[in-house]
């Protein structure tokens, strides 16, 4: 091993591991952390009101008996998908450039899945009985109803959460050991030491680690496709016009990846400069992410077209009516907002020059995130508010408690994420080093 590569290794480790040990912008961090704590407080207040008074504090009704909660559930879960996609799929496919992105993308997945997992519980009429969805031995001799997409949901989200957590944690163990070794204070040494599980970097450790990491990745990859396909069945498996369509599973998966890449892009742009990671998260990485965003965006757009075609081709009255409601009805704004926010700014990414402008990319990604939220909201309300029977038509507007819970959920997302950024290595140091050795270029790492 050459001195040159040793030096480079050390520099990379220094760049990454020094961040938690000697955080570059503590005051800025505290400001953001304070704000996210405020949001978290908002979550606890709105959840308390919800639990005490009942789900009636929301604006939902008959016919629109699912509202922001389910829209946000799908949205958060979709965002999470990019983390797994980048980490696991590209690990197996051998995309070395992923190594600069996977850690913070995976952490984002974890936070997003946690938020997504909370929503279906909060939205229950009797949330304290949520565990009835689990197949556990009980004196009532009752199991979940396995025909129900909601029972599948329960397994999907739980599996996804566990696998993501494992994958992320297995991946971070070597870097935790590096932190442990470099930590100055006793407290940090103990905490990082415990979390590092006694990692010493021996050859046997690395061999076992490789097995575990690749195996978990192999489990995680199908989840990228299966989880959101399954979520779409929550809608598509029922007989509701506008939901009951076979295009839903791929449409949902692509939309999930689309929104997830947007959020990863936003996070990458947001953290690379303040944390001094410009050398590791380069414009080339942004370019790659932007290309993925463009690709998944176009595929999602195809989903929109397929959905329209599907309704028209079926010739079914109720499906065509729902399509008309989407394009021109009370909630047409959500359809057109989804189309405009998702696909209009996206077209700029055709140009390589524009793909390397961080601010522009950030705005495009933000637009996609907002657009995808509108899409989730649109899919939910437009199918429900005008069902088959005219007499039961009704409209829905989210109550302020629903919005408060949404704001609060952003706190649930941001608070652990900011803790991660502050106290853990945001980039996988050893994987970057590995890639660097293989390719000899930091750009490709």
């Amino acid at each position: 091993m050459s001195d040159f590569s040793r030096q480079a290794d050390r520099a990379i480790t220094e760049d990454i591991v020094s961040i938690p040990l000697d955080f570059p912008h503590p005051r800025l961090w505290r400001l953001f952390f304070g704000m996210s704590l405020a949001l978290l407080g908002c979550f606890f207040v709105s959840a308390a009101v919800l639990f005490v008074d009942g789900v009636g504090v929301w604006g939902i009704n008959i016919p629109v008996n699912w509202g922001l909660a389910i829209a946000n559930y799908v949205w958060f879960l979709g965002i999470g998908h990019a983390g797994t996609l980048i980490s696991a799929l590209l690990l197996i496919a051998g995309g070395h450039w992923r190594n600069s992105l996977n850690r913070f993308a995976e952490a984002m997945t974890l936070c997003a899945v946690a938020c997504a997992g909370l929503y279906p519980i909060l939205h229950l009429g009797r949330p304290w009985l949520f565990y009835w969805m689990a197949p556990y031995p009980n004196t009532m001799d009752l199991w979940p109803q396995f025909k129900s997409p909601l029972a599948w949901d329960f397994f999907a989200v739980l599996t996804y959460l566990i696998v993501s957590l494992l994958f992320w944690y297995i991946g971070i163990v070597p870097d935790l050991a590096a932190l442990r070794d470099r930590a100055k204070s006793r407290g940090r040494q103990v905490v990082y030491g415990l979390l590092a599980l006694g990692w010493r970097g021996s050859g046997r450790h690395w061999a076992r680690w490789q097995q575990a990491y690749r195996l978990t990745a192999a489990i995680a990859v199908p989840l990228v496709v299966s989880v959101h396909s399954e979520i779409s069945l929550l809608f598509a498996a029922g007989p509701v016009p506008g939901w009951n369509s076979t295009v839903f599973p791929p449409y949902f998966v692509l939309g999930a990846a689309f929104s997830g890449f947007a959020v990863v892009l936003m996070i990458a742009i947001a953290i690379r400069h303040p944390l001094g990671l410009d050398r590791l998260v380069t414009d080339r990485h942004l370019d790659r992410l932007a290309l993925f965003l463009l690709a998944t965006g176009l595929m999602t757009a195809y989903g929109y077209l397929a959905e329209v075609f599907d309704a028209l081709y079926s010739g079914e009255g109720p499906d065509i009516d729902t399509l008309r409601d989407r394009l021109t009805g009370t909630y047409a704004y959500s359809y057109w907002a989804a189309v405009i926010f998702n696909f209009l700014p996206l077209q700029m990414l055709w140009f390589a020059r524009l793909r390397r402008k961080p601010l522009l990319l950030f705005l495009v990604a933000l637009s996609v995130t907002v657009g995808m939220w509108f899409e989730r909201f649109m899919l939910l309300t437009t199918a429900l508010y005008r069902d088959r029977l005219v007499s039961s038509w009704g409209e829905y507007s989210p109550s302020h408690w629903e919005w408060a819970l949404f704001l609060g959920m952003l706190g649930v997302f941001l608070t652990p994420y900011l803790l991660f950024v502050r106290y853990l290595p945001v980039i996988s140091a050893f994987e970057v080093k590995e890639a660097y050795r293989k390719t000899g270029r930091l750009e490709d790492a």
Partner: protein
Amino acid sequence: MPFDPTTEPNRRPPAEIDRRSLLKLMGASLSLAGLVGCTGSHDENALPYVRQPEGVTPGIAKWYATAVTFCGLAQPVLGKTYTGRPVKLEGNPDHPAAQGKSDAFTQAALLGLYDPNRSRGPRRLGTPVGWASFRRWATENAAAMDRRRGEGFRLLTGPFSSPTLARQIRALLARWPLARWHILDDGLFTAERAATQSLFGQSLTLQPSFDQASTILAIEDDFLGPGPRQTLNAVQFGAARRKGDRRMQLLVAEAVPSATGAVADQRLALAPDEAATLLRALAARLGLGIDAPAPGSQQEAWISKALATAAQDRTLLTVGTTQPAALVKLGLLINERLGALGRTLHFSPSPFESLQAESIADLVADMAAGKVETLLCLDTNPVYHALPDLDFTAALGKLPLLLHAGLHFDETAARAQWHLPLQHDLESWSDARAVDGTTVILQPLVRPFFDVRSRHGLLDIIAGGEGNDDRALVSGTWRNAWGEAFEEKWRAALFKGFVEGSRPETLSPAVRDRSLELETKSPPRQGLTALIRPDATVWDGVFSENAWLQETPKPLSKLVWENVVQIAPALAARHGLADGDMVEVSDGHIRLQGPVFIATGQADETLALTLGYGRAIAGGLSEGIGHDAGLLRRSSTPWRCDGLTLTPLGKTVPLAFTQPHQQQEGRDFVRSVTAREKAVETDIAAADFYPPRPPQDPSWGMTIDLDLCIGCNACVTACQAENNIPVVGKAMVAQGRAMHWLRVDHYTDGPGDAFQPVPCMHCEQAPCEMGCPVNAAVHSIDGLNLQVYNRCIGTRTCSSSCPYKVRRFNWFDYTAGDADSVQAMRNPQVTVRSRGVMEKCTYCVQRIEEARIAADRENQPLGEVVTACQQACPTQAIVFGNIADPGSHVSRTKADPRNYTLLEEANTRPRTTYLARIRPEDGEG
């Protein structure tokens, strides 16, 4: 924070009777009568309807025949009680005026009994006092009145038909000859009395026989709408429409859309003054020697159709009681010419006992003149109900002493020195006559909850008596009448629910005077005309405090918890108004403000207003809701007000509809066939991935005949009472959270207006069941789509999937805040649902199980099961039963070619199906 009844009707302030005292009361009555003796906890002398079981078995219901009164007339019922608690009322099947059926008011009378806002004890100057102190006053007063022969004492009552009350009042007036008795009449029968008086020389009650008619011409007469005759009329109407080939034809001409107009074979929208034109033209065409102006082309068509169908067979023409007496008389003359008298139209002596009373106008004049010292308002509320031009309230200022006896501490009670709470009909001994004249003895289903007296007891106290033996007061009347046979007849009357043979013979009076005092030319009208009618759910305000009725949707508009200014689309367009826009209606002096509702089919220059709102019952449900349209009434024209202006106020308020959209949008939810081609077309081949379920016996199913449904809401309220359905308030309904398991959809663009009751369809392939993750929505072997409340965690997936949206969700804990008395009213056989649980129509599974258990115990085949909605339905539109039995009624109706499935394309295979409406032949309608 002030209690807001519009948002939280169930969260009432804590009741004065707390749980402990209620339990004590129930416990005491149980131990006194129930467990020790064998007569139950009802009044000792009441008799069970069928047979008296040995001892009370908790959980086994007992039925008693009695009645509730409405507009002074008896609505005969059987009351179902569990250990002394009445939980459900059903029409008395043996009584000729009910035939087992009932209307929404009668169903909701149960809540009237348990109403937590009822007055609970006497008050003097608003302060609670005991009855003893009132009796002291009454004894002194009686002594003074004896000396002064009743001078200055006045009694004011509403219309009533109780022979006992009449006997008591006559006795009082005989004892105090200078005292006088006045009546505050509701005016429902005024025109009919005047018309018969003029035509026959005697004041009579019309007894139309709709079931005998093959053609009915109804002019401004909503005979199928709410009112004391609704049940009987609807029963007869149903019978007439069920006659197959000889199905009755109904032609309606009216200014304001009504239930009758909605189910008519032909409906003509009339301006208010055109009713006279139409009647005159019809009379002229029939050769009655009346000169009539030429009617408009639409009227001409209506008349031609009427005469064409009328010529064929038995015809009956009815003119609404809101019309001038001269028009009612003209209607009677037309009926005479059509040969209806004695065939489809009969007459009987008035069932009312209150006809001898003097008018309230005399009372007000005497009050203003200072001739009245003491006024007792017995079960009447003149401050709210007296027509405003009488100026009763102003005359009150000169009245030294006002006594008010009523169920609520209402507007009159607030002005009275003494307020004396009365018993509800279901807890008192009394007697009354039904619309057909048959006498009912009212027996109490339960001892009074509160410290209240009956009307009879109260009059007894006024006369210086004890006022605590109502039964003796009532039976005394009949002991005199029946003499020797008393015991036997009394027992039989209590047992059956009415006095056998008390229905008066129908009369065939000779016509004495055919002269007509018709206005030859209708006066030129300026401005708009308001047509003022009792409200379809709270009537004239007597049901204002009844939460079930407040939340029962108005049959046509589907509005709840308020009254509106209903206008025609043309008028709305002229003023640029939309539903919910606030307007001011003014006659120059009185100004009413209310939201607009636009009704298709209404005459252009009219406003339809309903009574019963704008109440001021302190702390009551109805406080601050709606406007009092009664302020526009005049003694000369109590049902209309001319020369009004309409001013938009530029504000919009949200209206609470249970059904915001009332057009079918080109779809065919309500299907129709012509009488000739009876079969409903179906072009959908049912496809199924699954093997068919093996046929089960029994398999429950239901049909609803849309040709018979009159949208009266009896089924809705019956379902509410049977299934412990909570009331959620206006704000919740406006948000789409009404809880009714059974709704009656109304479409204005069907074949005419159309009603469609929608309970759970109990789909054989139920989409709701597939989505439930916890097995809360499951299918029973006999075809019921069940909801297991204690398994439900509230994911609401079932409701998302339900194409019929019949599932209802407990968004809040609607039942926990119920007053103790309301909790006592609940049907013990039906689970009270908690927060976060989905619920829906069960086909009254508790009734099915009851029948099954009975059959198992007796080792007999399962007998007939009747759901609550079916039981109440006066036209028998709803048929329920075992579809596996080819001989069952429901199997026969399912075999009808008119049978069709709602949303057939959804392929859910509902067990509830509909029979298509029968529309007039093309080119005729």
